[in-house]
Each structure stands twice: as structure tokens, then as C-alpha cells.
């Protein structure tokens, strides 16, 4: 694995966020439309500025894939940290990454359908709007699985790759991301899909998490291939780490 490829994979996490948020703004999802709006208002929303909205959705879809290489590099780091021949936490991380890509793709398709036929019955557009917003904000396992896998890998690391504060940060972020999971219970207030705690808090730390992880991936690139013997061993000889148990 060359350093160039690793750097590209690390940057793709930051690129994801830098593409995601402009795409969300172009689509008109920021600030989120209130769940209290009636069908006509929602149909009105999806039938104005359709060109810009659809372009935003195309970008959103493009952004989603950038999580894959980024998540895969995190899985490599977890493997380097884990002791033993098997890497259950790295596999967990990969599953989380796969789900995270879907977490963006699925609502994007629902939003695309909502904007596709402005002339249709507003009730149907409202249903599609719900079908987009609910999974968009509610889908916490994808992110939390990754955070907890990273956190536990750092806490139980046989080879130290990342600082322990990053483990605590990840576990904490895992809980923050879970705040979106209850939006189906609310149509108004701070826990609704446009609320302070379910949306804004999660959105801020979702963005920050990608930037911080991209930074930590970047600074850990030199270590395995440089002079840190412990981590260099981890990649090629995972078995040796068992001796330290």
C-alpha cells in the first residue's frame, strides 16, 4: 500500500464532508423543512428550483461513495491495532462503512423521486419527502457502529497507532449520532428531524468526525512505514502480537 494511495484514502473522508454539505445546501435540505408542513407546502418546495435541487442530489450521490476508501483505511488501522490473526473490529468497521454509504444513497433516491414529478398529487410527494428525511436523520447505526469499533480498537490496542483520546472522542460521537434515532417519535421540538439536538448537533459533529478522522489517518500514514517498529510489524505479521498477550 503506497503512501500516495493512503493519503488519497484519508483525504476522501474530508472530501466527503466538503462535498456533502454544499450538496445538501444546493438541494435545499439545510435548514431542514419542518415535519409540521402540510402536503401542499412540501409539494411546493420540491417543485421550485428543481434544476438546482436535482444537481444537488447528483452531487450527494457522488459524495456518498467517498466514504468507502476512507472507511477501508480506518479498517486497516484497526487491523494494525488489533492483536491476533483475526480482526473482528476491522470487519465491524467495514460493515459500518458499507451501511454509511447506503445511509446517504437511500434518502437521496427518495428525494430524487420527490423532485422528479412536480405535477403529481402533493400527498405522494409528502410521503416521498418523509421517506427521504426519516432515514436521512434517523439512520444512526451506520455511524455509531464505526465509532464504537474504532473506540474499542483503540482501548484494546495491542499496538498503539492512535492516541487514546481519539477512542473516547469516537465513543462519545457514537452516542451523539444516536440522538437522531428517535425522530420518528416527534414532529416538533428539539428531537424532530429539524430539531437542535436530533439534527443540528448531529450534523455538526458528523462533519467534525470526518475531518478529525481524516486528519488522524493522515498523521498515522508515516508511522507504519516509517520508524515505528511496532506498527510496521502489525501489518505484515499480525501473529506476533499474540505473544504479547
Amino acid at each position: 500500500m503506497t503512501q500516495g494511495i493512503q493519503k488519497t484514502m484519508a483525504i476522501s473522508g474530508a472530501a466527503f464532508v466538503l462535498l456533502l454539505f454544499p450538496a445538501i445546501i444546493m438541494t435545499g435540505l439545510l435548514p431542514p423543512i419542518s415535519p409540521m408542513r402540510n402536503a401542499n407546502e412540501i409539494a411546493q418546495f420540491w417543485s421550485t428550483n428543481t434544476g438546482l435541487k436535482r444537481l444537488g442530489l447528483v452531487l450527494l450521490l457522488a459524495a456518498s461513495g467517498l466514504q468507502a476508501p476512507f472507511g477501508a483505511l480506518i479498517a486497516i488501522r484497526i487491523r494494525q491495532m488489533e492483536a491476533g490473526r483475526h480482526s473482528p473490529l476491522a470487519y465491524t468497521q467495514l460493515v459500518g462503512t458499507g451501511l454509511a454509504v447506503v445511509a446517504i444513497i437511500m434518502p437521496t433516491f427518495a428525494f430524487a423521486a420527490a423532485s422528479y414529478r412536480p405535477e403529481r398529487d402533493p400527498q405522494i410527494t409528502q410521503a416521498l419527502n418523509d421517506l427521504g428525511w426519516l432515514p436521512f436523520v434517523m439512520n444512526w447505526p451506520a455511524a455509531t457502529i464505526q465509532c464504537l469499533a474504532i473506540g474499542f480498537a483503540i482501548f484494546g490496542a495491542a499496538h498503539e497507532i492512535w492516541p487514546r483520546w481519539l477512542g473516547y472522542f469516537n465513543v462519545w460521537c457514537g452516542f451523539i449520532f444516536a440522538a437522531g434515532g428517535l425522530v420518528v417519535l416527534f414532529k416538533d421540538g428539539v428531537f424532530a428531524w429539524n430539531g437542535l439536538l436530533a439534527f443540528w448537533l448531529v450534523a455538526v459533529f458528523f462533519g467534525l468526525w470526518f475531518l478529525i478522522m481524516a486528519w488522524q489517518l493522515w498523521v498515522s500514514i508515516a508511522a507504519p512505514e516509517g520508524n515505528s517498529a511496532a506498527s510496521a510489524v502489525a501489518e505484515n505479521e499480525p501473529r506476533r502480537s499474540q505473544l504479547q498477550q
Binding site: R164, Y168, F175, F191
Partner: protein, 200 residues
Amino acid sequence: MTLLRQSGAQDVAADRARHVPGEEGIWVFVLGDMTVFALFFATFMYSRGKNPAVFARAHAELRVALGAVNTVLLLSSSLLVVLAVQRVLGGRRAGAWRLIAGALCCGVGFVAVKAVEWTQLFAARKGVGSGEFFSYYFMFTGIHLLHVLIGLAVLSRLIVVIRQTEFTDKQARLCETGGVFWHMVDLLWVVLFALFYLVR
């Protein structure tokens, strides 16, 4: 930095000199969590300021006695954890696990009281959907309850760690870190108690 961390013994000594209890990383979690709860409290007070009458009426449905019992339980458990951690750090860990076990029992008591309280509220047809006060109440105390459950897992782990024959500075610091987490759970409850049960 890496050198420092590799030598656990020196690290603990350095920590003491700097007076940072537990390992440094836990403070990222604790301060982050307390910031989020501060945000919770601010949103609650803001909503309450907009609708004082509605909040006062809903507030009357809560039983202060149950909240007070829970506060006493958590404060006692925190005290037990302090005593246990003190013994562990002072090298007298022989009976320390019993103190942690006592704290664990208090924590289980907290969960039991909460269960009774919620059952009564549900029976009175109060839920997350019954007005602003109760949606805040169930969400915030629910998220806190999740912290308590995680705290109970942490305390159980500490009991196992303390009873192990192999016990180094690393384990001692783990006990201190676990203690820090449990104190945060306690502190957050004290504020929640004041906010939901006492403020009129």
C-alpha cells in the same frame, strides 16, 4: 508522547504531578458529554421560559420523593466509589471491591426507582408524546439512564479488575478513570433532578 505512554508507571506518576485524575482521554468524553447536557438544559429552560404555565402543570405530576431517593442513591454510590478509588490508589485494594459492589447496588437501586417512576407515569398516560415537558423529561432522563447502565457495566468491570491478582499502575488508573465516569453520571443527575423536580 509515544515514549511517555509506553511506560505506564511513569505516566501515572506524571499524571499525579499534573493532578489529572484518570487517563487524559476520558476528559474528552466527560467534557464533551457535559457540553451536550448543558445544551439540553439550555433548550429546556428556553422552552420553559416560553410556556411557564404548561411546564408548571406538567411538573406537578412528577413525584419529588422518588427523584430525591434517586439523588441520595447516586450521591452515596459516588462516595463509595471515591473511597474505593482512594484505597486502590493508596495500595490498599484488598476490600476495595466491596465498596464498588456497594456503589453498584446503589446504581441498580437507581434503575429500579426509575422503573417504578416511569411505570407510574405510563399508567397515568404520560409518555414522550404528552406535551413538551414530558418529551424533555423522558428524553433527557432516558439518555441519562443509558449513562447509568453503561456506568454499571464499568463498575462491574472495575470489580473484576480489582479482584485480579495481577494489578499494576495501569489497572489503578483504569479504576480512577471509571470513577471519573461514574462521578459525571452522578453530577448530571443532580442537575437533572434540580431542573425537572425542584425548579418551580
